[in-house]
Amino acid sequence: MSDLSDNELLDLFRKEESRNYAFNLLVRQYQQRLYAFIRRMVTDHDEAKDVLQNVFLKAWTGLDGFRADAQLYSWLYRIAHNESLNHLRKMRRGLFVSEESVMEKLTTTLDNSEHFSGDAIQRKLQQAVMRLPDKQRAVFTMKYFEGMKYETMSEVTGTSVGALKSSYHIAVKKIEEFLTTDQTSGH
């Protein structure tokens, strides 16, 4: 990872001779954090890779218009958030199926994935997260897994802090309920 600040990275990107180098540094700097978020949203590694690639391609074409007063990380995260939601929407449209069917597909992906190392309770947690509506899943992922501040989440999602808190609170309740019920019923 480079030690360059966002502004230094942007300055390098704006110069023709250092554009490719700066972009490479930018990808290296943010790929892991963005991947983690996308992976939790779409579950499958290959799909996460495609979405992540689209995120950086959009960044490549959009960086010239990036306002320096905004945070580069928030901006990239916003693209990742939108791309993940678009991907799930497309998946639903492509399958012509209900929310439950998509959830089932994601669960199957999780069960068959060699890239998931979690134990039974971790698996249940992922299933519970996948049962959430897309936007609520994004809110829960940002807060619970990424530990993001509500203010940053607000920049990313374009939703008010109050609405985000409410959404997260409901998500936590739903998931805890799902986990408790599942555990007591012995599944």
């Binding site: 991947y35 983690a36 590694h45 391609l57 960086l63 979690g118 992922q126 409410s166 609170h169 998931i175």
Partner: protein
């Protein structure tokens, strides 16, 4: 409903609290080493964005808007096919009966040519008596001297 910020947000969710911080997703080995190169290749394969200076970013839309406005104005003011130049209106002299008399035109002949609808002036039936004619003309306030000359 009052929502408390972290860590109390998970106060009523003990299972979630206990699972926090674990990441069960596995990333294939060396994925993050090769990914930047792969994405860069794709970025370069797509149309590489040229750096656009700020003034061009502002000037371009302004010029485009100006051009559209100009075309719209020309379209409104300039008819599809320009009509032939209209001939200059003929200068028609407004002749009065007095002018006609002065120029020696026979008023009766003009009246005959124009027809009864186009009344040039009232057709005057002059009496045979000269005194009566003079009296009539005086009464009509016509240029008597000229008429006398003509007669």
């Amino acid at each position: 409903m009052e929502l408390k910020d972290e860590p109390n947000e998970l106060g009523e969710a003990p299972i979630l609290r206990s699972l926090r911080g674990t990441d069960p997703f596995v990333v294939p080995e060396s994925f993050f080493d090769t990914f930047p190169h792969a994405v860069q290749q794709r970025a370069l394969a797509t149309a590489a964005p040229r750096s656009v200076s700020p003034w061009r970013r502002i000037l371009r839309p302004a010029l485009a808007m100006g051009a559209v406005a100009l075309i719209a104005i020309i379209g409104l003011r300039w008819p599809a096919s320009a009509p032939l130049e209209e001939p200059a209106p003929l200068a028609v002299q407004d002749w009065t009966p007095e002018d006609l008399v002065r120029s020696g035109v026979d008023i009766r002949s003009v009246q005959t040519l124009l027809g009864p609808e186009e009344s040039l002036m009232d057709v005057i039936e002059l009496p045979d008596d000269d005194h009566a004619v003079i009296a009539y003309l005086e009464n009509e306030d016509l240029p008597l001297d000229l008429l006398i000359e003509e007669l």
